[in-house]
Assembly symmetry: C2
Homo-oligomer: 304 residues x 2
């Protein structure tokens, strides 16, 4: 039985340049990438903030997929968070060209009363103090999954360590290294697990992701082999969208569900990078996602 998801995160307009081309003021931010994927699998409510300049038409497809936008605050006269970046040829490194926080600077997430009893919470990458503030407003979340970024590891480590205790932690390999001081994904995951989360996922970009669960259980999922990556922006949040969406759809998070969710995460992320912004996630449907999920079985199952 499908459970509802609440996502709290950034909602932005991205200007991105890669070897494949560029976009300006395209839909971006962790909450939009997450919702684009998760909404194909389970009901999603979104909490974020945009300015009066935000092109509402751009998220019409999310509303059509049933994403509850009651929690998307609009600051009239304010400007939406804007980020600009340029990827290097190899797509693994990028240069941030600008970060205009705008209305996101004063973001103070308010959870609408109708969503405070949500069972599944995804705390996307926002300031740890705000993540704690979100947790305080929920009545009884059954599962909390969280993400973070290097900025908060450096600036707000203590508050971050308070949030980390809750549930499932998703980080990338660089964040794992910054948090633990070790570079191996397994070593990192083990140290992170000691900080409190029962399950730790270390994303490794084009190399897939590793999950460490209770009793030292391990699961590995590759990234979908692609001939061409157009834009890696948002892949991590989209992975989280597929992962959390799958758990919410199953309404359970035992080890089999967690492993399946890893494959859904990687499947969704692979669509994300095939185009700029949420363009591919916007046009795809559940049938296509399921086909790629099945493709993962063929790609990874060791024949008997």
């Amino acid at each position: 039985m499908s459970k509802r998801i609440l996502v709290v995160g950034s909602t932005a307009l991205d200007s991105v340049e890669t070897s494949s081309g560029r976009v300006d003021d395209a839909l971006g931010g962790s909450a939009f990438f997450f919702s684009s994927a998760a909404s194909l699998l389970a009901p999603v409510g979104l909490v974020g903030v945009v300015g009066g300049d935000f092109p509402r038409d751009e998220i019409h497809f999310l509303t059509e997929r049933g994403v509850d936008m009651e929690g998307l605050e609009t600051v009239p006269g304010g400007l939406t968070f804007r980020w600009g970046g340029r990827y290097h040829e190899n797509m693994n490194e990028r240069t941030t060209l600008f970060t205009h926080l705008n209305v996101f600077q004063d973001f103070n997430p308010y959870i609408p009363p109708s969503q405070r009893d949500v069972p599944v919470l995804f705390l996307a990458n926002i300031q740890p103090r705000l993540q704690l503030h979100v947790l305080e407003q929920l009545t009884a979340p059954e599962l909390v999954i969280m993400d973070t970024m290097n900025l908060w590891i450096e600036l707000s480590r203590d508050e971050l360590l308070q949030v980390i205790r809750t549930g499932i932690l998703i980080v990338n390999d660089e964040e794992s290294r910054l948090l633990t001081g070790v570079s191996g994904p397994l070593q990192g995951a083990r140290l992170l697990q000691r900080m409190g989360p029962h399950t730790v996922i270390v994303k490794k970009g084009e190399h897939g992701a590793l999950m460490l669960g209770a009793e030292g259980r391990l699961f590995s999922v590759p990234a979908w082999p692609l001939d061409r990556v157009v834009d890696p922006t948002g892949a991590g949040d989209t992975f989280a969208g597929g992962f959390v969406g799958s758990l919410a759809r199953d309404g359970a998070w035992g080890w089999p569900e967690l492993c399946r969710a890893m494959a859904w995460g990687s499947a969704m992320a692979s669509f994300c990078v095939e185009d700029f912004s949420v363009n591919r996630l916007r046009t795809m449907d559940l049938g296509q996602a399921r086909e790629r999920f099945d493709g993962f079985r063929a790609l990874t199952t060791i024949p008997a």
Copy 2:
């Protein structure tokens, strides 16, 4: 029904320094690493050359596993090939301290008559001209698997392209990039396949390996997650040993066998890096290897 394997490659003494320690004049070279793994799975014959200084006791464990050493030539008064290297902290980069080819410089592989009808041939990394010379001596190999290295890609490209046509090509991501000019493993594998081999495997070190087969079929295997890598030397040859050993044991190389062989390759490679030289491969047995192979199923199988 198990088929016999012939491996032709380097047989050396390595001096290696990593953050875990160092060894001097320890068993090394592609043929020894390969045989250490493959001999746990199928009968192996080895062709290589050593000097009069070679410590024959060191390969007693291979003879005990039934490796046929008739083709291991000894040059009396000559010195064995020696390589020295130091790994950087992250284990991904290394500095070659010395390469003394010694008797390997004039290596001219002679296949003993008793082994010319061998069905499975592994051409480890030696000069492409010599690889061709080995092929000429065999009567009717059913399956040829080959490896190479950046040196030959740069120095002997034309001859290399002649050998590549034969069967299965195993390269690492750097070699793939040098051969094709593209850095993505999938793109690289597709271009390599057009050069002739029906199956291409791109090894990605700590990130596992990707296989591209007939009709564009893909299979991905991760590296076994390890808390600590002691010495990565020989991991690629050991992967090949597990891979080819598994195919020879099955006596078949359809897609299911190829996928299983990938997991055996990765399983064997994970033992290799747990200690210096062939030390771990020397002490392990098939039961332990099988246990890790089963571990791969748990690590990668997406639950129904």
